[in-house]
Symmetry: C2
Subunit: 154 residues, 2 copies
DNA sequence: TATTGTTATACTCTATAACTATA
DNA sequence: TATAGTTATAGAGTATAACAATA
């Protein structure tokens, strides 16, 4: 009644079959393992750190406020993250001239070099999904996920 | 070049635009908030606990080993989870007669009553997505996510 | 010797309140 | 008074090794 077609191994999923969040969590296990292999272990980066680098690469400079929102991190937790990456020489913080409360986060030269390298290797990570998802399916999946992400009940 | 269509607010996503794992994480923020509202706060349950209850409801009895695999938890962490839920009177552990190393985890009467109630209220949670996803899109999304979840590189 | 499950432990992540400095 | 960011801290989640009991 609940299961749609084939469920090869493992116990029955029951109600979970219809819960989007559950399937999201299951898929995340796979993408997380893949991420670890490509960037986690080789570069000692976690997904948030990878995303942070990519955001800075795409925007040249952002405030911690903007980063916290984009990465879904609280302000204190973002501070810790920025501290760590600053200590690793990847980024720097510069006080804003117009509003001295805020600051601009930007990549260092070393940080940009690393980010460029990682960006170059990103297609290889995404290619791991090629065997289970066609290009059209992949694009569609991203589109559907975005609809959910943009759906902020607030 | 990277952005497909409209990107209403926030900084440019750059390379992240093509990273499935990133979109997965963003969508998960929404589903997590929705879960908290429907089950997290009212029942003091976290997503894993909810999933565990649903698995037990669908299977009557499962071993910790099976649960650990289904929930992507390590054995020690599952033990802690089971302890907590056993203390709350939701489930019980019974030694297997055929292999006294293993055990069967099963719902208590109270646990089953709770689980039934929660299962009944699950469609209301999922309905929160109706405004951003058609029924067909929802089914398609789940199908695509399952393809990724089943894609274990091992 | 291998497997099931537990204990102990350390590490990371997350969430909250209180603080500073600017505005 | 409000905002940007930090500090401090407690709680929850996660990972690993060592162990007990059974096979």
């Amino acid at each position: 009644m609940s299961s749609s077609s084939k469920k090869p191994q493992g116990p029955a999923q029951g109600v979970l079959d219809g819960v989007v969040g559950h399937h999201l969590a299951c898929a995340r296990v796979t993408t997380h393992v893949t991420f670890l292999k490509h960037f986690g272990q080789p570069y000692d980066l976690r997904p948030v750190e990878y995303s942070l680098l990519m955001l800075l690469a795409a925007n040249a400079q952002l405030t911690p406020k903007q980063l916290a929102q984009s990465l879904a991190l609280s302000a204190p937790n973002l501070t810790i993250l920025l501290d760590r990456m600053q200590d690793r020489g990847m980024l720097q913080r510069v006080r804003s001239e117009v509003d001295r409360r805020s600051q601009h986060v930007m990549l260092t030269d070393a940080g940009r070099a690393l980010t460029d390298e990682i960006a170059t290797k990103t297609p290889a990570m995404e290619a791991e999904l090629d065997s289970c998802l066609s290009r059209a399916e992949r694009a569609l999946l991203i589109e559907l996920l975005d609809k959910i992400a943009r759906h902020r009940p607030a």
